[in-house]
Subunit: 326 residues, 2 copies
Amino acid sequence: METDPDYYVAGVRAGNRKILAKTITLIESALPAHQELTALVMEGLLPYTGKSVRLGITGVPGVGKSTFIESLGMLLTSRGHRVAILAVDPSSARSGGSILGDKTRMEKLSVEENAFIRPSPTGGTLGGVSRKTRESMLACEAAGYDVIIIETVGVGQSETSVASMVDFFLLLILAGAGDELQGIKRGIVELADAIAVNKADNDNIEKAMVAKKAYENALHLFAPSDTGWTPQVFTCSAIQTAGIEEIWGVVCKYCEAMTESGALGRKRQEQALEWMGQLLEEGLKDWFYQMPRIRHMLPELTNAVVKGTITPTTAVKKMLDAINVN
Amino acid sequence: METDPDYYVAGVRAGNRKILAKTITLIESALPAHQELTALVMEGLLPYTGKSVRLGITGVPGVGKSTFIESLGMLLTSRGHRVAILAVDPSSARSGGSILGDKTRMEKLSVEENAFIRPSPTGGTLGGVSRKTRESMLACEAAGYDVIIIETVGVGQSETSVASMVDFFLLLILAGAGDELQGIKRGIVELADAIAVNKADNDNIEKAMVAKKAYENALHLFAPSDTGWTPQVFTCSAIQTAGIEEIWGVVCKYCEAMTESGALGRKRQEQALEWMGQLLEEGLKDWFYQMPRIRHMLPELTNAVVKGTITPTTAVKKMLDAINVN
């Protein structure tokens, strides 16, 4: 029965791809009844999660993310791994298509027995997309996928969101006429556990090496992250399948070291608590801003703050007083 | 009368230093009666605010912030400016003193007629310190100070907080044995509108030039900020008063260009709205986490999320349901 949580839990646990896909559709549903069912399904799946390598990959359009993921995915399945690929793309509603919607972009991987490719949910807020992706990731883990790749384009806050749900975050870049022209947003470089200069092939190899050196020097100026990991920089050619093994080797080395030291477990616990805090914040704000009294007051108070006739402190106090919240 | 808002408004407007100091003490008070009075005072002062250059300065302890501010302050007063110096330092309660408490560190400036130095409020949350500093800044503007310098040590989120209340954010660093050893936190470099390599004097000049070049190359790899401003890197010697004029020149150039294009006004409006959003978020969360029902539920739910027996989504839903918030 499709209203029975056990249907989903048992199906996912058995590695049934159709039921996994249905479970993710359930996770993505905005209907309250579906959300209640999702909560029960997740409860049933949770004991079987956590045993994968969670890899986030970001980069601007054109950097070769799909080709890279196809190459990496084929390498992993050839080594006996089971790979699931998910996407976080809050922009897809706007651009009219999902970044992974076109499965032909991963021709070989999409017909692989041990690969599961799930297009991005279209539309919705980033928070919503992010919740859905996190829970889809857990469902894939419960289905026995031992490498989960989460892809995102560098839009809005999506990289921060993806970085906060994975073990290892990889930034793909291109070498070329002025790296600053790639529009790498401030802050993204600092989220990365590794940077790979893609399309390091043919005439482009030398430029890629120069870019690698430049990023190594730049990263050297920052303090290492809390985990003590210093980000590494690579060159690769996804289309020639060059450098991919080396990058995967570093992901493995990182995860092994972090697992051994206990840091990975702590990182995941912190991510779960942070996620809980964010969901709570969002829930409280949604409730607050939808209250008729607040909706009535907000435009005038916002206007007064913008004009500088009252301070933000006073505006906020008026609103909190109005709902007897403080 | 010290319970009359007009006492403060008139005193501040007349440039009375004692009353300005008292007003800031009022702003810093946690007593509800004082906070109500503060709201009225701020309302009276707001029409006279906004006419200063708001400059944020950060850097690790030992980088020479006090000396730099003394040099810059003396330069500005000699040119007829009136300079107010405030500090954001949520760590001061811990370290047992304020970063500006020791006025002898700015010997010359502290006896200047046209300089007003205000030590940091000790203790309190960053949000609280930040609110107080923002409103103190407005009070100083209403008192006729036309350059406000806000100093912070690179602790916790204090730089982000200061960057979000100033027009121009300056990061002081040192050249030396491995810049990464300075402990410059990830993210700070990206907040900076300019970076100054201090202590570029005597034997240190060459090292400072190398550091300058390294940071220039690193900044080159990032996209320019939303305002289109590309951060600049300088060397200076605060103790020898070298390079200070040049840095001030860039601050002025930046503010003039931003004023002319209207970008400064927009930036300040966005800062005010962002601040309003943050205060609201904090207020809602404080209220929520202090509710007896939530305080009762939270430890068990947090524990379950950490152990991985329920998802953050479910934990949050249980809490929001408990207060009928959603």
